[in-house]
């Protein structure tokens, strides 16, 4: 017969762990958890900015630093102008369709909540390179799952998947499983759902063969699904996969902003 010592540390550990999980489950230790999060948030934010700075400088080639920074600056300008252009095109199209309905502008004026990114959440799942972001705003700030998240340029970079009292987890548009209702800015206004691909690009699958897609077509949120408004830029089409014997075609979309350099985001409250 196995004899268990009363003061066996492993036994004590198991019992206390069980108790802790129970107390967490019923919410008794939530004030302690919130206090700890409140305590580390400012430090986390600073550490994350440092880490992102290290990450950015690591990825840059020193010898081509000037050239790269110039390219980056121009890319940012192009991205900002493309987003602006896309917004205008969307507004123009909507205006034509709605023939001056006055509530259109009001419909696009949404409230946003600014947030700092405080960490990247490690994923142990089978999907490669899918690291979610953690921000310092949560349920207490009015955030809910499925709210859209914007970069400082105004492009949508992901959506909220989980909220705590004072922090939230965001999946990036390039992460597998992070899906958004989207629409192409082509003649047919093709609608579909985007899904992340390897943490690098975005897929838009199940597009009927008859729809015409061109490289460089802008992809925006379609507004279907409720919590994310229409017209937020997701990216532009960089490749079209179309086989004549297939029922569907697919588009590969490139995001317009560098998702690795983000430190501040805004969340759209519908």
């Amino acid at each position: 017969m196995i004899r268990i010592k009363k003061n066996n540390p492993w036994l004590i550990f198991t019992v206390v762990l069980g108790l802790l999980v129970f107390l967490h489950g019923i919410g008794v230790i939530r004030p302690l958890e919130n206090a700890l999060l409140f305590l580390i948030k400012p430090v986390s934010s600073k550490l994350y900015v440092w880490g992102t700075g290290v990450s950015s400088s690591y990825s840059e080639n020193r010898e081509k630093a000037d050239l790269l920074s110039e390219i980056n600056r121009l890319q940012q300008t192009v991205a900002a102008l493309t987003i602006q252009d896309s917004h205008w095109r969307e507004v123009e199209g909507e205006n034509e369709k709605l023939r001056g309905q006055l509530n259109f502008v009001a419909a696009n004026k949404f409230r946003v909540v600014l947030a700092n990114i405080i960490a990247k959440e490690e994923s142990f799942s089978a999907t490669e390179n899918s690291r979610d972001l953690v921000i310092n705003r949560g349920q207490k700030d009015g955030l809910r799952p499925d709210y859209g998240v914007l970069s400082p340029d105004g492009a949508i970079i992901g959506k909220i998947v989980e909220v705590n009292d004072t922090s939230s987890r965001i999946c990036l548009v390039t992460s597998p499983g992070c899906q958004l209702a989207a629409s192409l800015q082509n003649e047919d206004k093709t609608k579909g759902i985007t899904d992340g691909n390897l943490g690098l690009t975005i897929n838009m699958n199940y597009i009927p063969q008859l729809e015409k897609i061109a490289l460089g077509d802008m992809v925006i949120t379609s507004g279907l699904g409720g919590n994310i408004p229409r017209g937020l830029v997701i990216g532009k089409v960089s490749e079209v996969k179309s086989e004549s014997n297939e029922v569907w075609q697919a588009a590969i979309i490139e995001p317009l902003v560098n998702l690795n350099d983000l430190t501040v985001v805004s969340i759209v409250i519908p």
Binding site: G25, Y48, V134, N164
Partner: protein, 180 residues
């Protein structure tokens, strides 16, 4: 008594700093650098030099903090660290000495593998068996390799610092006396 309370407070503060660095800083680093597993390094270091009780206390402090900060289900880090600690402890108690760098390396490698396997399996279970279990993918084994490399470096560093600071690891030799 006061000394003990002080020690516990210092230990908790170290855990808080380590968990914050792991959560916010290391996770934001590029490429192979974000595979540094500070928690696991400290756990094996504590188990090797201070024993099972201190290691369990570390799991409590560090695991609780990481479970609070992270969006993994609560107890995820507790379980991963505890499983790694149990495997390392059994190996250390039954087969290895705690006075050799090679033992230290073996412990680190075993702990890294067990920790990541536990994390992969728990994630797979938490996702209701959707997709592939993490350990069947290339990225899992690549991450285990990177983590092992970091841990081997850390082990060499920890061990050599300890050799300098403590007499416990000073080598001794049996000298052959002349005339025998």
């Amino acid at each position: 008594m006061l000394k003990k309370v002080g020690q516990i407070l210092i230990f908790a503060a170290v855990c808080l700093v380590a968990a914050t660095w792991q959560f916010a800083f290391i996770s934001s680093l590029p490429g192979v650098f974000n595979q540094i597993n500070l928690g696991l390094m400290l756990l094996i270091f504590i188990l090797f030099f201070f024993g099972a009780r201190a290691a369990l206390f570390f799991i409590f402090s560090f695991g609780f903090l990481m479970d609070t900060f992270s969006f993994q289900f609560f107890s995820f880090y507790f379980i991963c660290l505890a499983v790694a600690a149990v495997a390392s402890y059994l190996i250390l108690e039954n087969w290895l000495t705690n006075k050799s760098l090679y033992s230290f390396w073996v412990l680190f490698l075993v702990a890294t593998l067990v920790y990541n396997l536990a994390a992969g399996i728990l994630t797979f279970l938490a996702a209701n068996f959707q997709g592939l279990p993490g350990f069947l993918t290339f990225s899992f084994w690549r991450n285990v390799f990177y983590q092992s490399a970091w841990n081997i470096l850390a082990a060499a560093l920890f061990f050599n610092i300890s050799v300098v600071l403590a007499k416990r690891f000073q080598p001794f030799f049996l000298e052959k006396k002349s005339g025998l």
